[in-house]
Amino acid sequence: MLSRSTFLRGGVGLTALFASARPVLADAPLDLPVGGHREISPGRPGGTLRVSVATDIGSLDPHALSATNVQWIGRILFDNLVYLDEQGIPSPWLAKSWIISPDGKTYTFSLRDDVTFSDGAKFNAEAVLINLEHMRAPATKSPLAGTYIQPYASGRVVDEFTFEATLRAAYSPFLNVLAQSWLAMESPKTITECPASLAYHPVGSGPFILESYKPQLGMSFIRRPDYNWSAPVTGHQGAAYLDRLEFEFVPDASVRYFSLASGEYDFTTDVPAQAAAAAQADQALTLTNRVRMGCPNRAIAFNVTKPPFDDLRVRRATALAMDRDGVAEIAGFGTYRPIANFLSETTQYYDASAASSLAYDPDEANRLFDEAGWIGRDADGYRNRNGERLGAKIAITSTLSSIPVIVEIQSDLRRVGFDLQLEALPSGQLLQQRNAGQYQAMSGGVWHTNTPDALYINYHGSQIPGWKQGGQNTSRLNDPQLNTLLEQARETNDTGALRSLYAQAQTRLIELVPAVPLYDNHTVIAYGSHVRGVIYDTSHETPHFETIWLDEGAA
């Protein structure tokens, strides 16, 4: 610990940090890779990978969670029925092939016959049936998986390796959602015999097996030697290369970066944006920055049912008044890509044509506010109309990381005479407001899913949050035209129709401006240069761990 090299490194570090009064590093250039979903060449077996992760989610049962961590934990322990290919089309995994009936309501899956779970249970049609039932059973209390398969009506075991799923209505996202980690295949034996144990003793068919799980501290996994059914798209054969994975929970962003840089860890899944430039400048580290599919980060979701945002001109003007590039810079230190559309670019059926009409334009914003009648100015410089000031209250949670963003937005709006008041509420009151619709605007909001059905989830009239049901449509938008487009898109499997419907939906959203998209949903990870073979999940853009191997020569 107190070796000469430590002192040397420490001395250099101290000097660098304190000697100059300039900011130490400039921003990271935006370098978003494409590809990276396929293993290029085989690796060497052996070794332990030490990973730092931001938070513990408190359970390891993907069916019962909606947390982000599941995206990569899922791939460590479990496999799914299907896997998206590099173009985003569902392709075989545990299901070798499938037939969809012409009316889109029946899916017949042909399953692999060589897959077993780590407790010995066999993977077959019966297992799929049990899994789907588990996802939607109220007792499982699924906050995501169950909802994603809501149109699933019943399942039938045709023969040992053929499963038939019948839906209530045609549902085009069905195969896509089945590729997501939350809908992984768990051992039917454990589901049937002891479902409560799934949270701490999860049993899957994946390339690793859980060795130990200490809540709030960490978890460790060991290789499953007989694993041999990676998704064909990844190009990986056989078992994982690493012997062990060791995960530790490190909530502090700076500590995650510093401990990676000092070699205490080999890999971190949550690099703070402000450290990205430092990580890139460090020769001993590799940084990757990828964009997730789904709806991008929104600055604000307007409550379109309440003033002042019930007026379309006010919504539009507010959106145009935000300096998207500046905010993306503040939030991302150069790692976040600004976007002015309601779907991220990498999502299927993304349509770029309508995006630019939401670009930063303060002059147009001012003109629209004038047109909406907010011509007067009060003593503080804010616009008013009939003695009433133009403004809104926005509730923010007390997490400190999002504050600079909303402060900048408030500042942008002040320049055009709009008074955005920030209200830090405890989460209980925030939820209350959200359910009751007693807010003018909600801050933040991002939805990741691997299908453009994300628009349905975020903007369809049936998805408004309330006491009786959860929902992500915090804009409380209920536009018949948009509703119809999104419903029709759910009910067809024809690619031409889907492209057209989603393009219209995106255009309609740009017209309605229920929220202000700001920047993409990025996942930034970093690892030591001795870590090789990292590939990314086609659904989630999170790392796969079975292809990773350690190049000891480069350590």
Binding site: L17, F18, A21, R22, P23, V24, L25, A253, S254, Y257, P272, Q274, A275, A278, D323, D325, G326, V327, E329, I330, F333, I396, S398, T399, L400, S401, I403, P404, I406, V407, E408, Q410, S411, L422, E423, A424, L425, P426, G428, Q429
Partner: protein, 291 residues
């Protein structure tokens, strides 16, 4: 922490410079500095515009984390705002809230202590058990629970911080009242036929609250620390209002981008607490006579 000092002997005063000029009676250099700093803070509280011309809320997305320069004496922060101005403007909420909370503690504690000491036995016991309940709950946790569930606005902050020190004051005052009731001069007043309420007002009250007044300045120091700690934990004032604790909490994540921000916020809080404590101790010493 201030209640611990009530356990110990009279506090040592701060060191003096030798008798340079006899009529100055020996001025402590430290006290001078503390006094000057507090005067500066007083100006910052009353009229921040005199000390800082920049708008503490004006952001600039294209000049983030600028180092200290002629334009921005303390540089700019994560939103491009002028840090010097924010530090100055943050004085008011910290000092006012700290002072108000200390006052609330003293007043509430004194009232309850008087009530406990003067009431009939049953009521007095009930009050003391309630005090025990409050005291058994660690102060920070009490504040955490109140703020996390009721939100962080001036009212809840005042209640939460004010409640925290009440049991100590209640005990002190009650102990004084109980002792005083047996004191000779009270007996004398009763014998003289003075009405009870007059005795309480004229004799019991002033003597009972003396220990409270004596420790009051130190309690302000503790309250200011508590305000800063709360903000640091994310439970303080709403953004974008300037606040030392909140600045420290946010800037701690940006050590790689602007390390001086953390140092400045830490220095502001530490300097204030130190100065208040130093002056508080000097006042206490003066009150108890020199050693």
């Amino acid at each position: 922490m201030s209640d611990l000092l009530s356990l110990s002997r009279p506090l040592p005063g701060l060191p003096k410079i030798g008798q340079l000029r006899s009529h100055l009676r020996g001025i402590n250099p430290g006290l001078l500095v503390a006094g000057a700093y507090l005067t500066f803070l007083a100006v910052a509280t009353i009229a921040p515009g005199l000390l800082a011309s920049a708008d503490p809320l004006a952001t600039d997305a294209h000049h983030l984390f600028s180092p200290p320069s002629a334009n921005h004496w303390f540089g700019t922060d994560e939103n491009g705002r002028d840090v010097w101005s924010r530090v100055i403007h943050a004085a008011r909420p910290s000092l006012l809230l700290g002072g108000a909370a200390a006052l609330a503690t003293a007043a509430t504690g004194a009232l309850l202590g008087l009530a406990a000491g003067l009431s009939p036995r049953l009521l007095g016991n009930v009050l003391m058990r309630l005090t025990d309940m409050l005291q058994s709950f660690p102060e920070i946790l009490l504040v955490l629970v109140i703020i996390s569930f009721w939100g962080a606005n001036n009212a809840t902050l005042l209640v939460a911080l004010g409640l925290a020190g009440v049991p100590r004051v209640v005990r002190q005052v009650r102990a004084q009242v109980v002792t005083l009731q047996r004191a000779l001069f009270i007996e004398a007043a009763i014998t003289l036929g003075l009405p009870r309420w007059l005795i309480i007002l004229r004799h019991v009250l002033p003597n009972a609250i003396k220990p409270v007044l004596v420790l009051f300045p130190l309690d302000i120091g503790w309250k200011i620390t508590a305000v800063a700690t709360l903000s640091f934990l994310g439970l303080g004032a709403s953004p974008p209002a300037p606040d030392w604790g909140a600045m420290l909490a946010i800037d701690r994540d940006y050590v790689l981008n602007g390390w001086w921000l953390t140092a400045i916020a830490a220095g502001a809080i530490t300097g204030t607490v130190l100065s208040v404590n130093a002056l508080g101790r000097a006042l206490i010493r003066r009150n108890e006579g020199h050693r």
